[in-house]
Amino acid sequence: MEKIKIEHVSKVFGKHIPQALELVKQQKSKTDILKETGATVGVYDASFTVNEGEIFVIMGLSGSGKSTLIRLLNRLIEPTSGNIYIDGENISTMGKESLRTVRRNKMSMVFQNFGLFPHRTLLQNTEYGLEVRGVPKEERQAKAEQALENAGLLAYKDQYPNQLSGGMQQRVGLARALANDPEILLMDEAFSALDPLIRKEMQDELLDLQQTLKKTILFITHDLNEALRIGDRIAIMKDGSIIQIGTGEEILTNPANDYVKTFVEDVDRSKVLTAENVMVRPVSVNVDLDGPKVALKRMRQEAVSLLMAVDKNRHLKGYITADDALAAAKQQEQTVHSIVQSEVLTVPPDMLIQDILGMIYNSPTPIAVVKDERLLGVLIRGVVIQALSTSDEEAEVHE
């Protein structure tokens, strides 16, 4: 289900906006437009959709227009052209009153510097959205207290924001947004002002929250690692344009251009790629059907000295080696049951490579990737190392 849809949205700041827009339509570059009209293009022909329950990350360096883009969604900044739909409703043409209703009920925003009101206590801050909506005092306080409780900050409810650390303040910022029970969360560099440890903690908390809340989240960041960590899909922005949209994996393995590539090079892939991303198709033998001779034949065909053993439901049973299969074949055994070695290391498909590296160096046999006991693939040392290296040439040298 698509929740947010943005079609050819542009934002031009400054004078001569109509001329600048005309040039945008002619697909002139940002610098040309600035030269010809003196207008600055903040967002340039952006189009994308965000699905319900998705965390969509917009990533870009400062000046790339990402903060402008997120503000176009709730029209804190008015779009110059293009259409923005939320649940099929066109936000960009909406009247003041209906826009206010959308802001009150559909989406809440979390700010980079928290945006907490310094003259209000945490409770008063948290209930702000409900207050402007006209929710009766007792009800809104109960809801705000619940939101603070979930954030683990109920004890501080009568404190003022400046009495709290940055991490705690942003928890309040998030609690304030959630107290409103919006369908969409707009998070503008929400964790960028926090120090790295707290930031990671907050990312984890957001992901945990998302498990239960299933909000549609639009998250802005300048940190690719953060984008890869929390984003279901990522849009990369440069100079007001969206350069590439895709999953983290897609962007890492298939950068759209050199700009994205240079970005991606700095990423620690072991923290991004999972077992599923780097596993290879397992060469296996069915213990219920195949005998040692079949196993040997398959080893010859695939040029391997080891087969994974599965049953007819593809449940992992273990592995058999070439030596054992040869011995069994000589003794005219009909099945491979007796030679299956069951001590195999297994990992779930969503395990990060960085957590597998230690295992893979110490394990003599391939590691099986297993989900619900079913064998999905195997991790082979060489392939994993290749996936971790950043450029293709390097990988070839290793082979």
Partner: protein, 284 residues
């Protein structure tokens, strides 16, 4: 060259202003008269009320207020006690009460006009570009000049005094209200907007509370300016400490002039510190 300049006839600005004033006074005399009558009645009553309170009771009240509002410090309280007793001792108590009335009225009127005007200015760039030069004009024009229309409209007495004081004392409140609201951090304004606040909700729940200390600084300035108008306004018959100073000036009585002037200084310091402490307490 000189000749050429002399050939331009004098622009009759002064007669124009004069005829405009004449037009105003003749067409609105009933209006100005009723304000004059009503204002005089009201202010005299307030003065009478202040005078009817026993001086010692009022002094004690001010001292207690000073003590608590400065965070239970003795400095201002002690100063108020000694200062007010001194004024009473010099036989200037009635004058002080008259001055108090003048300051209270001109400050309140300035605030009532000034804050909404400042809010309007902060919300509209057009309003700002119109009001700003007017404020500059009001502040740079010598205070004496305001006495002339004040007399023309309201005759002599306390009402024209308040009128002149308001014109003279209004600008800081307007300016600081505008500044305070414009200085509210952008992110907080965005936060208020993003949660769907109406303009009114944003103003009263976010902007004014956050601009409060700046607005209070403006009000403090307004109060001080209206106090500084007291002496000047006495020239058109406004009563109070200022009149004592003026009388002393006219009769070259250095001693009396000094005492009345000192009384004004004491009064000024007390209300300045009081309004400032009030501000600090509020912003905590």
């Amino acid at each position: 060259m000189n000749n050429f300049l002399d050939n331009i006839p004098k622009i009759p600005l002064a007669p124009w202003v004069e005829s405009a004033m004449d037009w105003l006074t003749s067409n609105f005399s009933a209006f100005f008269n009723s304000i004059q009558q009503f204002g005089k009645l009201l202010m005299n009553q307030v003065t009478d009320l202040l005078i009817s309170i026993p001086a010692i009771l009022l002094i004690v009240l001010v001292v207690i207020l000073a003590f608590f509002i400065t965070g239970k410090k003795f400095g201002l309280a002690a100063f108020s006690l000694i200062g007010l007793l001194f004024i009473y001792n010099q036989g200037l108590w009635t004058n002080l009460m008259e001055t108090t009335t003048l300051v209270i009225f001109s400050s309140i009127i300035s605030i009532i006009i000034g804050i909404p005007l400042g809010i309007l200015m902060s919300k509209s760039t057009i309003a700002e570009s119109i009001i700003k030069p007017i404020l500059d004009f009001m502040q740079t024009m010598p205070g004496f000049v305001y006495l002339i229309p004040a007399v023309a409209f309201f005759g002599i007495g306390i009402v024209p005094g308040v009128f002149a004081s308001v014109i003279f004392a209004l600008p800081p409140t307007v300016r600081m209200t505008n500044l305070g609201i414009r200085q509210v951090p952008k992110e907080l304004v965005e936060a208020a907007d993003s949660y769907g606040s109406t303009a009114r909700q944003k103003l009263f729940k976010v902007e004014i509370p956050l601009a409060k200390s700046t607005i209070m600084a403006g009000i403090n300035q307004t109060v001080m300016l209206s106090l500084s108008m007291v002496v000047i306004a006495s020239m058109i018959g406004a009563p109070g400490l200022g009149r004592e100073v003026l009388t002393a000036l006219q009769r070259t009585q250095v001693g009396n002039g000094f005492v009345a002037g000192l009384g004004l200084v004491i009064f000024a310091i007390i209300i300045d510190r009081l309004t400032q402490s009030f501000n600090k307490k509020k912003t905590l």
